[in-house]
C-alpha cells in the first residue's frame, strides 16, 4: 500500500505529542485519509456557498462557480491568462531573485562580521519597519512605472526579511560547533563557509520562504499601483468593470501561484535542512 512507506515516520514523533493523535502506525494513514475527506468537504461547501450566495444576492456580489470556470477556460484559451501570468512571473522572478542573492549575501556579511552587523542594525530595523508602500512614490519617480520599477518594488519588499533571517542565522551559529572546528585548527574561511553558513541554512531558507511570500504580494501591489500589467492588472481591470467571474478566475490563479511557491520552498527547506527537521520532530 502507498501509505505504508510513511509509517516509519511515526518513530520520530512521540505518541501524544500533538495532543490529539492516537496510536501510531496504521491509524496514522487512516487519520490522514480522514483529514483529506474533511478538507474535500470544506472545499465543496465553499463552492456550494458561492453558488448559494449567487442565488440569494445576484451576479454582482458573487459569480457562480461555473461561470468562473467558464471564464477561466476562455482566458486560458485566448492566451490572456498565460500572458498575464508570464508578466507577473517575470517581475516576481527577477525581483525575488535579486532580493534572494543580495539579501543572503548582505545577511552573511552582517551576520558574520559583528562590527558591520552592529553598525547597520538600526538602519536595517528602520527600513524593515517602514511599510513598503511608503516607497512606491519614490520608486515611481526614480524608476518610472514599468517593469524595472516593479522589480525594484518587489526587491525592496523581499530584501529585508531575507537579510534579517540570514544575519540572525549566521550570528547565532552554534558556538559549540565553531569551537570544535577551531580546536581542530579551522581557519576563518573554513569556519565561516563550512560551519557557520551550513548551520544557518535553515534560517536562510525560512528567510527565503518569507521573502517569496512577500514578493508575491509585492508583485500584485506593483501591478495595481504602477502601469497595470500581469495578473494584478488583469484582476483590477476585471474588478473595475464589475466582471466578477473574470476577477475570480484571476484570484484563483494567484492563490495557486502563492501556494505553489511556498510549497516548493518548504520542500527545499525539508531537503537541505533535513537534520533540523528531524531533530525538531524528535523533540
Amino acid at each position: 500500500m502507498k501509505g505504508r512507506g510513511t509509517g516509519d515516520r511515526t518513530k520520530a514523533t512521540p505518541p501524544g505529542s500533538l495532543g490529539f493523535s492516537g496510536p501510531p502506525g496504521q491509524n496514522r494513514t487512516r487519520q490522514r485519509r480522514k483529514i483529506w475527506v474533511v478538507q474535500g468537504l470544506i472545499a465543496l461547501s465553499l463552492i456550494l456557498g458561492m453558488q448559494l450566495l449567487n442565488m440569494v444576492a445576484g451576479n454582482l456580489v458573487m459569480p457562480t462557480p461555473l461561470s468562473v470556470l467558464r471564464q477561466a477556460i476562455d482566458m486560458w484559451a485566448d492566451g490572456t491568462m498565460g500572458w498575464a501570468l508570464w508578466e507577473s512571473l517575470a517581475v516576481l522572478g527577477a525581483g525575488f531573485g535579486l532580493a534572494a542573492t543580495s539579501g543572503v549575501f548582505s545577511g552573511i556579511l552582517l551576520g558574520g562580521i559583528p562590527f558591520l552587523g552592529r553598525v547597520f542594525a538600526p538602519f536595517v530595523t528602520a527600513m524593515n519597519s517602514t511599510p513598503g508602500a511608503a516607497f512606491i512614490p519614490l520608486i515611481i519617480v526614480w524608476f518610472g512605472l514599468y517593469t524595472e520599477a516593479k522589480i525594484v518594488l518587489v526587491w525592496h519588499a523581499a530584501f529585508f526579511p531575507i537579510l534579517i533571517s540570514t544575519a540572525a542565522g549566521i550570528s547565532t551559529a552554534n558556538r559549540d560547533l565553531t569551537e570544535m572546528a577551531q580546536s581542530f585548527g579551522a581557519g576563518r574561511r573554513v569556519l565561516f563557509w563550512q560551519v557557520m553558513v551550513p548551520d544557518a541554512l535553515p534560517s536562510i531558507l525560512s528567510g527565503l520562504r518569507i521573502g517569496a511570500a512577500v514578493s508575491t504580494v509585492g508583485t500584485v501591489i506593483a501591478e495595481l499601483t504602477m502601469a497595470q500589467s500581469g495578473l494584478g492588472g488583469l484582476m483590477i481591470a476585471a474588478g473595475n468593470r464589475f466582471q466578477m467571474d473574470r476577477y475570480f478566475a484571476v484570484v484563483v490563479v494567484l492563490m495557486a501561484l502563492g501556494t505553489l511557491i511556498s510549497l516548493g520552498l518548504r520542500q527545499a527547506e525539508r531537503r537541505f535542512a533535513r537534520w533540523r527537521v528531524v531533530m525538531a520532530e524528535a523533540r
Binding site: 559549540d176 577551531q182 581542530f184 531533530m279 524528535a282
Partner: protein, 277 residues
C-alpha cells in the same frame, strides 16, 4: 615529570570578566609524551578552561603554557573530545571525520581509507553514511573519539567525554579508550567528575579545588597495566587511592568549599564515605 615534558604549565592563571573572576590560579604541572593524566575537580573549578588553555583556544593571563616547547596553537598535534560529541549535523559520520582530515590537508584518498579504519576501531564501520541524528548518544561519542584520533594527535584532550552516557556504554568506551591509548600512546589529558573513572584510567590524577581553581594534589596511580584486561577495581590499592582522594575532598569541604558543590560534583560514586560538615 622531568625534561621530556610534552605539555608544560607554569604558574598559569586565567580570569574572565575583565579580571574580576579568577578561574585558575598558579597551575603548574607537566605531562610527558604518552602519559595519561586525569584532571578531577568540582564543577566550575576551571577544568574546561584548562583544556582550552592547553589547546591554545585561550591564552593564559599569567604564567606560561608550552606544548612541545612552544605556545600552543589549535591544530598542532592536539585534538579535543568534547562532552557532547559536537558533530556537524549536516555531515555524515564519515563526513565529520573527513572534515578534520581536510583541515590537516590529507588527500581525499588517504582520508577515506583512514576514516574507514578509524570507524572500524570504534565499531562504527556500518554507520559511515549515517547522519549524527540517526545515532545513539554512545555512538555519537564514539564518532567524536574517532574524529579526534583521526588527526593522529600527540595529545588527546578529553572534556568529560563519557559523562552524558549510561553506565554500560561508559564502561565499554573506557575500555576502548584504554585499548586505543595503549596502542597509540598519545598523551591524554582527561577531565572527569568521576573519581573511580580517574583512578581506573590514568597514571596520574590532578585534583583541583575550586574558586579559584588551584591544584590540591597530584596523585600517581600505580596499578597494573593493561587495565582494560585486568580490572583494578577489586584491588586494595584501588580502594586505598579512592579513600585517599575522598579524604582530600572532605578536606576541601572542611576548608569551606560549599558542600552542595561537592555533592553535585561527584554524584554517582556510590558507597564511599560521605563528606560530613
Amino acid at each position: 615529570m622531568g625534561e621530556a615534558a610534552l605539555i608544560s604549565l607554569q604558574h598559569v592563571g586565567k580570569s574572565f570578566k575583565e579580571g574580576t573572576l579568577q578561574v585558575l590560579d598558579g597551575i603548574s604541572f607537566d605531562v610527558r609524551a604518552g602519559e595519561f593524566v586525569s584532571v578531577v575537580g568540582p564543577s566550575g573549578c576551571g577544568k574546561t578552561t584548562l583544556l582550552r588553555l592547553i589547546n591554545g583556544l585561550l591564552a593564559p593571563d599569567q604564567g606560561t603554557v608550552r606544548v612541545k616547547g612552544a605556545a600552543p596553537v589549535p591544530n598542532s598535534d592536539l585534538a579535543m573530545v568534547f562532552q557532547s560529541a559536537r558533530l556537524l549535523p549536516w555531515r555524515t559520520v564519515a563526513g565529520n571525520i573527513d572534515f578534520v582530515l581536510a583541515l590537516r590537508r590529507l588527500s581525499r584518498k588517504d582520508s577515506a581509507a583512514r576514516t574507514m579504519a578509524l570507524l572500524g576501531a570504534v565499531g562504527l564501520r556500518d554507520f559511515a553514511d549515517a547522519y549524527p541524528h540517526e545515532l545513539s548518544g554512545g555512538m555519537q561519542s564514539r564518532v567524536g573519539l574517532a574524529r579526534a584520533l583521526a588527526v593522529e594527535p600527540q595529545v588527546l584532550l578529553m572534556d568529560e567525554p563519557f559523562a552524558a552516557l549510561d553506565a554500560m556504554t561508559r564502561e565499554t568506551l573506557r575500555a576502548e579508550l584504554l585499548r586505543l591509548w595503549s596502542r597509540r600512546r598519545m598523551a591524554v589529558v582527561f577531565v572527569t567528575h568521576d573519581i573511580d573513572e580517574a583512578i581506573l584510567l590514568s597514571q596520574r590524577i590532578i585534583l583541583l579545588r575550586p574558586r579559584p581553581g588551584r591544584i590540591e594534589e597530584i596523585v600517581s596511580v600505580d596499578l597494573p597495566e593493561p587495565r582494560w584486561q585486568n580490572d583494578p577495581r577489586g584491588l586494595p590499592a584501588f580502594a586505598q587511592l579512592r579513600g585517599h582522594l575522598w579524604g582530600r575532598i572532605q578536606g576541601m569541604a572542611r576548608d569551606g568549599v560549599a558542600l552542595e558543590d561537592l555533592a553535585r560534583a561527584f554524584p554517582e560514586t556510590e558507597g564511599q564515605p560521605r563528606a560530613e560538615g
